[in-house]
């Protein structure tokens, strides 16, 4: 199976001063698979996501991406234009805070249409129709298409960010705490939505969360991080039902106890 991975990493290491944010991290992601990265605050989850997506360079180690033609690319050796092209077509990035990704002074339709236009779409009517269709897919009323995001609730903003990211049908999406900072009821609806979209579109995702329930619902496999190291990884049910590492056991029991 190894040769089929969409994304692979070996020996990723990164220090911030004396802080070991990543230590010898290996990771594999297969097409259509959701991989959850869990661990407490400061364990290196976001750093891993940033390194895997080429937004940060590691001190040591390698990460490869396999393009649709089957060619492997060393993510940190790619020329900047090629990496940028990946980020606006094959890949997507969903931030915890949707305001970091959305243009707050641009209508919902313009936000969703931007990646299409960046990719060369030049038909206003088609772009608008695609934006409306994507708003509906993330359960935002089509008649909000001309509204500014600042009139949207937190949950709507996050769904708008997802529509903006998925409109180009990326093969791989990086998500950093996509349900963080939202009310519990809003979170549940958003998780259902993400699960439905990821399954239907066959998108592979690396999902960072500190919430094991989120990982349970969305992920096929889990990596557990502690102080920059992967202490345990495996199929979601196996890791959560039968945790082997003491730290994972602590995480699982603390959720159960809560």
């Amino acid at each position: 199976m190894e040769h089929d991975t969409l994304l692979s990493a070996r020996g990723l290491t990164l220090h911030f001063g004396a802080t070991p944010a990543l230590v010898d991290v290996d990771a594999d992601l297969w097409p259509g698979e959701v991989l959850a990265v869990v661990g407490e605050s400061g364990s290196g989850k976001s750093t891993l996501l940033n390194v895997l997506s080429g937004r940060l360079a590691p001190d040591a180690g390698v990460a490869w991406y396999r393009d649709p033609a089957g060619a492997l690319h060393d993510i940190h050796a790619m020329p900047a234009p090629a990496l940028r092209t990946l980020h606006r077509s094959d890949w997507g990035f969903v931030h915890q805070n949707p305001r970091e990704n959305l243009r707050m002074a641009v209508t919902a339709g313009g936000n969703v249409g931007e990646r299409l236009m960046a990719r060369g779409s030049r038909h206003y009517g088609d772009i608008r129709a695609a934006a409306i269709s994507w708003l509906e897919q993330v359960e935002i009323d089509a008649d909000r298409v001309d509204d500014l995001p600042r009139t949207f609730s937190g949950g709507m903003l996050q769904r708008l960010q997802i529509a903006r990211t998925l409109v180009t049908h990326p093969r791989l999406v990086f998500m950093d705490e996509p349900t963080g900072g939202l009310d519990v009821s809003v979170q549940a609806r958003l998780l259902d939505l993400i699960r439905g979209l990821v399954r239907r579109l066959g998108i592979a995702a690396v999902l960072v969360t500190h919430d094991l329930a989120v990982a349970r619902l969305l992920a096929h496999r889990i990596m557990v991080m502690q102080r920059g190291r992967v202490v345990e990884s495996g199929l979601t049910d196996r890791v959560l039902d039968d945790p082997r590492h003491a730290y994972t056991q602590l995480l699982v029991s603390s959720v159960l106890g809560a």
Partner: protein, 279 residues
């Protein structure tokens, strides 16, 4: 030999002119790409065309015939003072007739008369960066140009059509040069944009305060940004010029009395006079 003694030919010293010519050559080699240059202090405040003047000074030869226009007119203070400046410091002949000029420095217009291969038009540019109002970071706009990442400009057009039903940019309407670089045509009316496309004359752009030079070589494709289903249209006031009757020229609206009376006349004064003289 200089007309006004104490100045080098066309005011700038030869070393500065060579530096500007190198920037111009680079700009011609990469159509639409903004080339940085060491802009000099000129005896005019920024905003009075110091970038255009430096480019003109660098390309001017003793046999050139210079025309200077400001918003289409040869007789405004700005045009007159720049024309006089070069008459004094370079001793070159000047003209108000487009067809007689070899170098035309302009602010805000392109002459109505089609330009020829043996002419150069120099535009005064206040803001060379077409993305400046959409993306404040110069580092980011440079990256966008390097990667031809112009989706953001189309987002602006999308938003305009969504809000107003049409693109609301009437001056400095962004263009793609040679299918590669997004370029600000300077604050000419969008009406003039089609004249830039495959123009026979060399087009040079100088931005003094922003220290940038860019160029469109002769016969280069210049396309106004648009959508397939909302095509660019060069619009003008739906009137005939009250002086010459032209229905195809760009018009200025002029107040003619204190009763609120107005009339529409050609903004290109030379073109208008030529039509009235029957030349």
């Amino acid at each position: 030999m200089n007309v006004a003694s104490g100045y080098n030919f066309a005011y700038l010293d030869e070393q500065t002119k060579r530096m500007i010519r190198r920037a111009i050559l680079k700009a011609v080699a990469i159509p639409g790409h903004q080339v940085p240059f060491g802009s000099r202090e000129m005896p005019l405040p920024y905003g009075w065309g110091t970038g255009g003047i430096q480019v003109t000074a660098a390309v001017l030869g003793r046999d050139d015939v210079l025309k200077v226009i400001d918003q289409g007119a040869d007789d405004t203070t700005n045009a007159v003072s720049i024309r006089r400046f070069f008459a004094r410091t370079a001793g070159v002949a000047t003209t108000t007739h487009t067809a007689e000029a070899t170098v035309i420095q302009t602010r805000h217009r392109i002459p109505e008369t089609a330009l020829r291969q043996d002419q150069i038009i120099v535009y005064q540019v206040p803001q060379p960066e077409p993305l400046s109002r959409l993306e404040p970071s110069r580092e980011e706009t440079r990256r966008m140009h390097a990667l031809a990442d112009y989706g953001l400009m189309h987002v602006k057009l999308y938003e305009d059509i969504t809000r107003f039903g049409h693109v609301s940019i009437s001056y400095d309407y962004p263009v793609m040069v040679d299918g590669r670089y997004l370029m600000a045509p300077s604050p000419i009316p969008a009406f003039d944009n089609p004249k830039m496309d495959r123009m026979a004359a060399l087009q040079l752009f100088g931005a003094g305060r922003e220290k940038r030079i860019y160029a469109v070589p002769p016969y280069t494709s210049v396309r106004s940004l648009d959508f397939d289903d909302h095509e660019f249209r060069a619009s003008r006031a739906p009137h005939a010029c009250l002086l010459c009757g032209a229905t195809d020229s760009y018009l200025d609206e002029v107040v003619i009395d204190d009763q609120g009376g107005r009339m529409f006349v050609c903004s290109d004064t030379d073109h208008c006079e030529g039509r009235r003289d029957g030349t």
